[in-house]
């Protein structure tokens, strides 16, 4: 419990830091948001009015306090382009991104786990070599290339899957493949390396000496220990998935947070940009906290400290 409390309080501090950074971000980047919104030829009166409306005429400290107060109430401000609050926009787009991330992650784990385990078990044999070659290819294909290629093959040539949008469940397949392939490749390598290390441990020899089958040794003893480094990588990679989601969602016109962010940047809708960045950061921090908690759950040595 005590360890849990320490971890969670650390997370709260990090979240506070993230909010502050996101706030400062808009004020340190060059360019005047008002000018950007109204155009260079706008009337000074209009500029001042908008400035006052957005509270940008106040001193930075006051703005910061106001920002935090509103944030505490779940208010991320109003979109400058659309007639709705940033929270509403984010809430409308979040499910699609979550769906895509889960699909990509499931795909990645579904490919990586069996591939990595097989490769480790068949270390230095043909299966291991081919699995690792496949993984190298997966790692070498960037999202912005793989996405269009998949569209070219499965949508344009074969006509099996929709090109873009989110109109049917089939629309999920190509974006999830695009996003999941790189992750699967990296994860498969991680599973293999981690398992190979664990399979050399003395306690694996003990398990064999007990008369356990290779499957029992692998599943019950080796994988239980191999999870720890795998989960660390998985947590860190989620940042990559979210970053990749921006590109992937744009390619497939997937109505998620990533495409919202790109649209908002194009339209210079600063409150929305701020909201998107904040949300992505929070997801990232939460995932890392969850990784830590998974450690607590998986490793008694950490749990008892």
């Amino acid at each position: 419990m005590r360890v849990l409390f320490t971890r969670l309080s650390a997370t709260v501090i990090v979240i506070f830091g993230v909010c502050t950074l996101v706030f400062l971000l808009l004020h340190v980047i060059p360019g005047d948001p008002i000018e950007a919104l109204l155009g260079e030829r706008a009337q000074a009166v209009d500029q001042a009015a908008l400035r006052a409306q957005l509270g940008l005429d106040q001193p930075l400290t006051i703005q910061y306090v106001q920002y935090l107060t509103r944030l505490a109430q779940g208010d991320l401000g109003q979109s400058l382009q659309e007639q709705s609050s940033v929270t509403t926009l984010l809430a409308a787009r979040l499910p699609a991104t979550v769906l895509l991330a889960i699909a990509a992650l499931t795909l990645a784990i579904g490919i990586a786990l069996p591939l990595g385990v097989l490769a480790a078990q068949q270390h230095k044999r043909l299966l291991d070599m081919s699995a690792m070659t496949f993984s190298l290819i997966g790692l070498s294909m960037p999202n912005f290339w793989l996405g269009p290629m998949l569209i070219l093959i499965f949508s344009l040539t074969l006509g099996w899957l929709p090109i873009s949008g989110n109109d049917s469940p089939a629309s999920l397949i190509l974006p999830a493949m695009t996003l999941g392939t790189g992750l699967a490749a990296l994860l498969a390598r991680m599973v293999r390396a981690s398992l190979l290390e664990v399979l050399n441990e003395d306690y694996v020899r003990t398990a064999r000496a007990k008369g356990a089958t290779e499957w029992q040794v692998l599943w019950h003893h080796a994988l239980r220990n191999a999870w720890l480094p795998i989960i660390t990588v998985l947590g860190l990679q989620l940042g990559g998935v979210l970053g990749g989601a921006v590109i992937t969602e744009t390619i497939f016109a997937w109505p998620g947070i990533g495409s919202l962010l790109v649209e908002a940047i194009k339209a210079r809708d600063y409150p929305v940009v701020q909201g998107c960045v904040l949300l992505i950061s929070l997801i990232y921090v939460s995932v890392n906290t969850l990784t830590d908690l998974a450690y607590l759950w998986l490793d008694p040595r950490v749990r008892f400290n």
Partner: protein
């Protein structure tokens, strides 16, 4: 080749077992050649050998658990009527952990860290139980029974513990419980106590003996420790360079070892009786197994070598009824060893070192030394307690003297060494070298004092930077302290130093990995001596080495002391080394010194109950020298929450209520021997309290 006795009634028999390593694009190396062993019910056979001789590979081969590159090239392994090498893998799994079980050297790493010990034992139970006995309730009952049978108290609570919550000794008990789960007929114990302290080793060996008595278990004990063999085995087989060289009953073997290698091995064990002479070191090293030619594999290092040894592989010769040896010397009947024993070693030390007669002025003085490591918790790293690693230690070291600091792992002896060198800053107390207070020194002033005090570490494999040449490793101190800034002069000096420790000058341009363990430790000693220190702190310098190599290093240390007059603080857990090397001994228990005195006094007439228990736990070869065992229960308590009063009282057979209330004063029982124990006063009314342990 003739095969030693292979009776039909043997429970377990190994015949002509050979193992080789497959290599890429090279012919395979034979690592174990033609090993024959046999075991009967209730019997203990020791397989004795130094590191790399193939004894652990043999054990793994019997379980058919060899690493992928190793292959069994021939032979039979017979357990009752079953030839294990011919069994299909699925049936072999039934044997493994069932009729044939194994425990390993490192209990620390041999248990799965993420599973409770109950779950790990239960797995072994389920794997070998009849289907009806696999119900959870029955399995749990069996686990509790097993934990109880290996002497783990409160098994119902303990079975929910994870391995890291148990001490090393407890973990080895759990390993044994796991091995017993399948009701084995044969237990292979691969160095089962090597990683444990002597008092814990005594407990574990006793446990194995008791189990054998109760169940008729046959034990194949793989070890390098002659003392352990003498105390536990019925018969032994000596292995050298992948072959057995001698098989004998223990009594016969220790009375009259027949192979020259066995004789040298036995003579290289340090004892008090040898303290004024040199130990019998075996020159050279074990031949690389890919270079063995026809002939005896020991020929190059043998003191009794003859021309035919180089060319003809010796056959087994009968020495006595149960003693056989693979040596040409025995071809024509009994061997007269006096032919070789009469020649005295090159340099026999006849005069005892000065310090043994009169203790001169103190070169190094340690007063009330304390090292506490803070324990930090929580978000802001608050200090919530302290590990009292060293808690008030007083020591003195005279010029040219050897003081041994003895204790079990975790007692704080290594920390004392580091604190003296200021590598670990003391929390309290003083360290004076030649009148200079070291604890107050900083920066350059402290650096200058480093000339005087040097250290040799335990593990010569880890103590040297693998990317530096030997020349730079040894010469680094000379350069850093500005003693020999010129490169050519420095090389000259390094060459002299290497010569001093018996390393050839060709070593200069080589890297540490090219040397054996013994050679590396010599280089480490040369490195320490480079700046001409007055005090050398030797932190377990021989524990990572084989006994024949240990003898070389101990001889070297003794010679260097006579030549250079330096003082040693010899930190060790090995009491045999102490009796050979040290003039005075300090016994440490949980951060404090409990007994201090001349080696002869402390080792022959120990007064503290802990010292007595420690000494009685050391396995001794000579049966007449064995002590009445004082068995300690339990483990070393945690230095975070040490017991009140005398730290030893919870484990002490003599403890009275007084012992828990206050720390006993230092009592002088002779002019040179001091003890921190109330019991001394109960049994002897004439003793006077000493001022302090100075």
């Amino acid at each position: 080749m003739t095969t030693p006795l292979l009776a039909i009634e043997n429970l377990f028999a190994v015949q002509n077992l050979s193992i080789h390593f497959e290599r890429h694009a090279q012919p395979p190396i034979a690592v174990v050649s033609g090993v024959d062993l046999h075991l009967q019910r209730g019997e203990t056979l020791a397989l004795l050998g130094e590191s790399g001789c193939g004894k652990s590979l043999t054990a793994l081969a019997l379980m058919r658990l060899l690493p992928p590159a190793a292959r069994i090239s021939g032979g039979r392994v017979q357990l009752e009527a079953t030839n294990l090498l011919a069994l299909p893998e699925a049936q072999m799994r039934q044997v493994r952990g069932g009729r044939l079980a194994m425990i390993f050297q490192e209990p620390q790493t041999s248990l799965n860290p993420v599973l409770t010990i109950g779950a790990q034992i239960a797995e072994a139970v389920r794997l070998h139980a009849k289907p009806a006995d696999r119900q959870p309730a029955r399995v749990t009952r069996r686990v509790l029974q097993l934990l109880d049978s290996v002497g783990i108290s409160a098994p119902a609570r303990r079975m929910r513990d994870y391995p890291h919550q148990l001490s090393g000794g407890m973990k080895q008990r759990v390993m044994i419980a796991m091995a017993l789960a399948g009701d084995p007929q044969v237990l292979i114990a691969d160095e089962p106590t090597t990683a444990l302290d002597v008092t814990i080793q005594a407990q574990v060996l006793q446990l194995i003996k008791d189990l054998q008595r109760d169940t008729g278990l046959a034990v194949l004990l793989i070890t390098h420790d002659l003392g352990v063999v003498a105390e536990t085995a019925d018969r032994l087989a000596v292995m050298y360079a992948g072959q057995l060289v001698e098989v004998a009953d223990c009594a016969q073997f220790f009375a009259a070892p027949a192979h020259p290698y066995s004789r040298k091995l036995l003579a290289s064990v340090p004892t008090a009786a040898q303290r004024h002479g040199k130990l019998a070191a075996i020159p050279g090293r074990v031949p690389p197994l890919d270079q063995v030619s026809g002939g005896c594999r020991f020929a190059e290092r043998c003191f009794a070598v003859q021309p035919r040894c180089q060319s003809t592989v010796p056959n087994w010769q009968q020495v006595q009824n149960a003693q056989q040896v693979r040596c040409h010397l025995w071809q024509n009947g009994a061997v007269d060893w006096t032919r070789w024993d009469t020649a005295p070693p090159a340099s026999v030390v006849t005069t005892p070192p000065v310090a043994e007669i009169t203790p001169p002025a103190h070169l190094l003085e340690v007063i009330d030394l304390k090292v506490h490591f803070p324990i930090q918790r929580g978000l802001f790293k608050r200090t919530v307690g302290a590990v009292r690693a060293v808690d008030g230690v007083n020591l003195t070291l005279a010029a040219g003297e050897t003081l041994a600091l003895v204790g079990e792992s975790g007692c704080g002896k290594t920390t004392v060494g580091k604190a003296i060198l200021q590598l670990e800053r003391p929390t309290g107390g003083q360290v004076r070298y030649a009148g200079v207070e070291l604890t107050q020194l900083r920066g350059e002033a402290l650096r200058q004092q480093r000339r005087a005090l040097q250290i040799v570490f335990q593990d010569p494999f880890a103590a040297m930077n693998p990317r530096l040449l030997v020349e730079d490793i040894v010469g680094e101190g000379l350069q850093a302290l500005g003693i020999e800034p010129q490169r050519a002069r420095r090389r000259q000096r390094v060459t002299e130093l290497l010569d001093l420790v018996g390393i050839d000058a060709t070593a200069l341009q080589r890297y540490p990995h090219e040397f054996s363990g013994g050679q590396r430790q010599r280089i480490c000693i040369a490195r320490a001596l480079a700046v001409m220190p007055q005090v050398l702190i030797c932190d377990e310098p021989t524990s990572a080495l084989d006994v024949s190599v240990q003898a070389q290093i101990l001889n070297l240390l003794k010679e260097l002391q006579q030549q250079l007059g330096i003082s040693y603080l010899f930190i060790t857990h090995n009491l045999a080394v102490v009796s050979y090397l040290a003039q005075r001994v300090a016994v440490m228990y949980l951060g404090r010194i409990v007994e201090l005195g001349m080696a002869a006094e402390v080792l022959t007439a120990p007064r503290h109950p802990y010292t007595q228990a420690l000494l009685s736990a050391v396995p001794v070869i000579d049966p007449s020298a064995r002590r009445q065992p004082v068995r300690l229960s339990g483990d070393l308590p945690s230095p975070i929450t040490p017991p009140s009063g005398c730290h030893f009282h919870p484990r002490c057979p003599l403890a009275r209520p007084q012992c828990a209330q206050m720390e006993p004063p230092v009592v002088a029982v002779s002019a040179t021997q001091q003890v921190r124990c109330f019991a001394v006063q109960w049994s002897n009314h004439c003793v006077k309290p000493a001022n302090d342990a100075k």
